[in-house]
């Protein structure tokens, strides 16, 4: 089993949030919190990302974009919803264009509450996501081995 949890690369997408959570996500990269010490890289490329970090709720316009980004990410992948808007829709829940949380569009694995979510909570969520990422990676390799055995 390879150790992949030392190198989780994040894809950060802002749904329809107020930017509060986004600023906190970026704060995690600053010298105070420095998530790069865990090997985390904030990449802009879905093809190279492992963890999909979404802030803000899903609206009619960004639903297709979120789906597209999720589909472009190679397996194994983990989705983290950051902030109460991404979890449930938050204060925007009853707006005419808001569909709700991220789980209305793609399967969410980790929910990080807060308005705005604190950097500590975000890092905690990412650490949980990294464990899940390792687990899924192990499962994928197991499957690969089994299918190879069957072929033989």
């Amino acid at each position: 089993m390879g150790n992949v949890k030392r190198s989780p690369w994040l894809l950060h997408y802002d749904g329809s949030s107020c930017n509060g959570c986004d600023i906190e996500v970026l704060a995690c990269l600053t010298p105070v919190y420095d998530v790069e010490r865990f090997g985390v890289i904030n990449t802009g490329d879905p093809m190279q990302a492992d963890i999909f970090l979404i802030t803000g709720g899903i609206n009619t316009q960004n639903q297709a974009v979120v789906k597209q980004l999720y589909d472009q990410m190679p397996k194994p992948k983990v989705v983290v919803a950051v902030g109460v808007c991404a979890c449930t829709g938050g204060v925007f829940k009853d707006c005419y264009n808001i569909l709700g949380g991220v789980d209305t569009t793609i399967p969410v694995d980790i929910y990080v509450p807060g308005c705005a979510a604190r950097p500590q909570a975000i890092i905690d969520g990412v650490v949980k996501a990294v464990e899940l990422f390792q687990k899924r990676s192990d499962e994928m390799e197991q499957k690969k081995k089994e299918s190879r055995k069957e072929q033989k």
């Binding site: 390879g2 190198s7 904030n42 490329d45 190279q48 190679p74 990676s137 994928m140």
Partner: protein, 288 residues
């Protein structure tokens, strides 16, 4: 002959190791310069290990072939260099490899990687004169293009070619895709063109690209060392110190400068090449 074989085998096996460590050191020192703790020095190896285990999504199958060609030509360049072969030929093969990378970026039709590819072309245009002049400098200083002859010379090439060395170190920033000349593949935090040439590369292909970067770094650092090596065995120590100093300088430049536009890069690179290497060339020609 045995020396040549040892050189090639050592390069094939040790270059990814050394290149990866240098890359890890780069990230660590960069982090410290920004007041962060930074990742472990082995981080690049963890990244590549992970990339090889990811699902392999590919837009155009031709990309894998082109990336493989890129890696092979780069490895071939380094092998020729460490086998003590012709320096001029090494750089010609290296340029051939660079075109493979551009094609690999172009075949996917993504606007970001196309933009990266065209910027890569401008980068090649910027650094190529300095690279060729460096070879000429070595020839004028030692009377040979062969690496095996250059390292046997009585005096280090640097005493005759400080201008060529300055030009080479300047274009090294472009060659290593470091800020202010990281036009074709932007650093991770700068995402205005996603990842440039590597935008559509994921999993295995990106891992191969990373490996090729390590091979290339070791080759380029070898050329830096070549300026300092002479028949005295102690000169190898001087060369290693010079390589570390140049690498540190690159990291420092990377962390203290913002990206420039392509035309500024072209003017700067050609200006420095013409001034530093050109002056040096004229002096050497007159002195002969």
């Amino acid at each position: 002959m045995t020396y040549r074989v040892i050189g090639v085998i050592a390069y094939l096996l040790l270059a990814p190791l050394l290149g990866g460590l240098l890359n890890g050191l780069d990230r660590k020192i960069s982090a410290r310069m920004q007041g962060r703790i930074g990742p472990s020095i082995l981080q690049p190896f963890y990244d590549v290990r992970k990339l090889f285990s990811k699902q392999f999504i590919i837009v155009n199958p031709a990309q894998t072939f082109l990336i493989l060609s890129y890696v092979l030509t780069l490895v071939f360049t380094g092998c020729m260099f460490f086998a003590g072969s012709d320096l001029l030929l090494c750089f010609f093969v290296l340029s051939t490899g660079a075109t493979f990378l551009m094609f690999a970026a172009c075949v996917t039709n993504s606007p970001y990687s196309n933009l990266g590819a065209s910027r890569e072309l401008v980068q090649i245009m910027s650094y190529e004169p300095a690279v060729l002049l460096t070879c000429v400098g070595f020839y004028l200083a030692t009377g040979s293009f062969n690496v095996s002859d250059i390292i046997q010379s009585k005096m280090s090439a640097i005493f005759m070619t400080p201008g060529f060395f300055a030009a080479f170190v300047f274009i090294l920033t472009i060659k290593m895709r470091k800020s202010p000349f990281d036009l074709s593949t932007s650093h991770h935090p700068h995402q205005e063109m996603v990842k440039g040439v590597t935008t559509e590369m994921g999993a295995d292909n990106l891992a191969l690209f990373q490996l090729s970067e390590w091979y290339e770094t070791v080759f380029l650092m070898g050329v830096v060392g070549l300026f300092f090596i002479n028949e005295n065995p102690w000169s190898y120590l001087v060369a290693i110190l010079a390589i570390l100093a140049v690498y540190f300088l690159e990291i420092l430049i990377d962390n203290t400068s913002a990206r420039v536009k392509w035309d500024t890069m072209l003017k700067l690179a050609w200006g420095v090449t013409l001034f530093a290497a050109g002056t040096n060339l004229i002096i050497l020609m007159i002195a002969r």
